[in-house]
């Protein structure tokens, strides 16, 4: 049965909402969100960066863990549409990074993105009340002007990402956000350590190491962060990370 894009999008929001159960894993959730963003917005890559609450920004999740893409998301935290977006709290779009204006505006980011094969870049803010806590980045391999509808859907997905950060506990306390953001970035560090363990033990690249980690967690119905933690602290043997094929 064929479905319309709107129906598929609605289904994605339902899936994401369903994921927000009591003990869900925020980084797994953000990775899913980035993947679905790519699917719905017809962009080639998507990533989430978050405030480190020290004045900086750090990548938390992406639609791919390809090394150059991860590097590009990290670069976004220093200069580019993403940084402009979090500074202004408004969506920032650039239809063609090869244009002189883009090169002048982002002399570091534009060549880096082009070098990784991307021609267009946009970012929508993740906002909570008056605060911008991060951004959802969209990258395209072809030059493309994102229309208002696409940006609006991107904004809706970014809003869902914000809800994900504030997961599982009532958001009444102001401290919660600070706790959650820092915990999320610390979990990201654990995931990087676990990717290293798997990459070395199973001779995988970092993208495949992450995929394997995530598939294993899903197969065993376990939290991604818990599995990553056990791999990095040595309580789980990387040789045990085999994935059941159904």
């Amino acid at each position: 049965m064929s479905t319309t894009p709107d129906q598929r999008l609605a289904r994605t929001f339902v899936t994401l909402a369903d994921t927000l159960v009591a003990d869900f894993d925020v980084l797994d959730f953000l990775a899913l969100l980035a993947e679905r963003t790519v699917e719905h917005l017809s962009v080639d890559a998507a990533g989430v960066i978050l405030s480190d609450q020290r004045g900086g920004w750090r990548p938390a999740a992406g639609s791919s863990e390809r090394a150059d893409l991860v590097e590009l998301f990290a670069a976004q935290a220093r200069e580019g549409p993403c940084l402009d977006c979090v500074a202004s709290g408004k969506p920032v779009t650039c239809a063609d990074l090869r244009a002189d204006t883009a090169q002048a505006r982002w002399p570091g980011f534009s060549p880096a993105a082009l070098g990784s094969g991307f021609r267009a870049a946009s970012a929508v803010p993740m906002r909570l009340r008056e605060q911008t806590i991060g951004a959802l980045t969209l990258l395209n391999q072809e030059p493309i002007e994102l229309d208002a509808d696409t940006v609006a859907v991107g904004q809706a997905l970014a809003d869902v990402a914000t809800i994900g950060i504030l997961h599982q506990r009532a958001a009444a306390r102001g401290e919660l956000l600070a706790e959650q953001l820092e915990a999320t970035l610390q979990q990201r560090t654990v995931i990087e350590q676990a990717k290293g363990v798997l990459a070395e033990a199973l001779s995988l690249d970092m993208h495949d190491a992450f995929s394997r980690l995530r598939e294993y967690a899903h197969d065993r119905k376990r939290r991604l962060s818990d599995v990553a933690h056990e791999l990095a602290d040595g309580t789980l043997d990387p040789a045990d990370i085999t994935v059941e094929h159904h």
Binding site: R54, G56, Q180, E192, V197, S225
Partner: protein, 240 residues
């Protein structure tokens, strides 16, 4: 906000060559001055686990006053509290009103209140799974940390983390940026070296740092070589 980090570094570096105890005490004093808290304390796990993962974890406590010292001891004694929860959730635990949260820690809560603690804020000192200690503040009146105070506390916790790591491998690192900045390859390299040498992540981090120090290159460069698989650590030769 990098300015804030620079400013704190400047305030701490005026002390000259200090041992870790002095540095942690300085950081605690700085916390009290900058964060408008009644006291600050740090528990430092002074030895990381050895290769077999079973080495002793000795805890050293630094505190700006008696109450903070008591608070640090209390968490170690009763085996519960915001500091241990901070490790469990991998981020700070901020309790602006302890009386309202007393049920969360049936042993710690009442005993802390007894000490005169009305608000408590714990920041874990850790790099992913590498646990190094905690930095804890209390107030004798309830009230939340402001957003700026949270920022300052996170930066001071970063500096405390550097201080602990410096002490563990016995030398001060020149590149202080790798923790706060997004050097994900350092973390990936820790995982890879852990497997290459069959050691803990704690030990792997120290090994990579020791290598960088011995070869006078940055940690980020060593990490990128490990991740690119142009550099391997071998158990038989002491790379450091």
């Amino acid at each position: 906000m990098t300015d804030r980090r620079q400013r704190f570094l400047g305030l701490l570096s005026t002390e000259g060559k200090a041992d870790q105890g002095q540095r942690m005490s300085r950081i605690c004093a700085l916390c009290v001055a900058e964060l408008v808290v009644s006291g600050a304390g740090a528990t430092v796990l002074s030895e990381t686990r050895d290769g077999a993962g079973t080495g002793p974890h000795r805890a050293l406590v630094h505190a700006s006053n008696e109450v903070s010292a008591g608070l640090e001891d209390l968490q170690l004694t009763v085996g519960e509290g915001p500091c241990l929860d901070a490790f469990a959730q991998g981020g700070p635990v901020l309790i602006p009103d302890l009386a309202a949260a007393i049920g969360r820690w049936p042993a710690f809560g009442p005993a802390a209140a007894e000490l005169g603690v009305a608000a408590v804020f714990s920041f874990p000192l850790q790099v992913g799974v590498v646990r190094l200690g905690s930095l804890d503040f209390y107030r004798d009146q309830p009230g939340p940390l402001s957003r700026t105070q949270v920022t300052d506390a996170l930066i001071l916790a970063d500096l405390a983390t550097y201080a602990v790591i410096d002490q563990l491998d016995g030398h001060a690192a020149s590149d202080l940026s790798w923790l706060a900045d997004s050097h994900i390859e350092v973390h990936q390299a820790v995982g890879m070296v852990k497997v290459q040498l069959g050691i803990t992540s704690d030990a792997a981090l120290l090994r990579i740092r020791a290598y960088a120090y011995a070869h006078e290159v940055t940690l980020a460069l060593v990490a990128s070589q490990v991740v690119a698989r142009t550099l391997r650590f071998r158990p038989e030769e002491d790379s450091a």
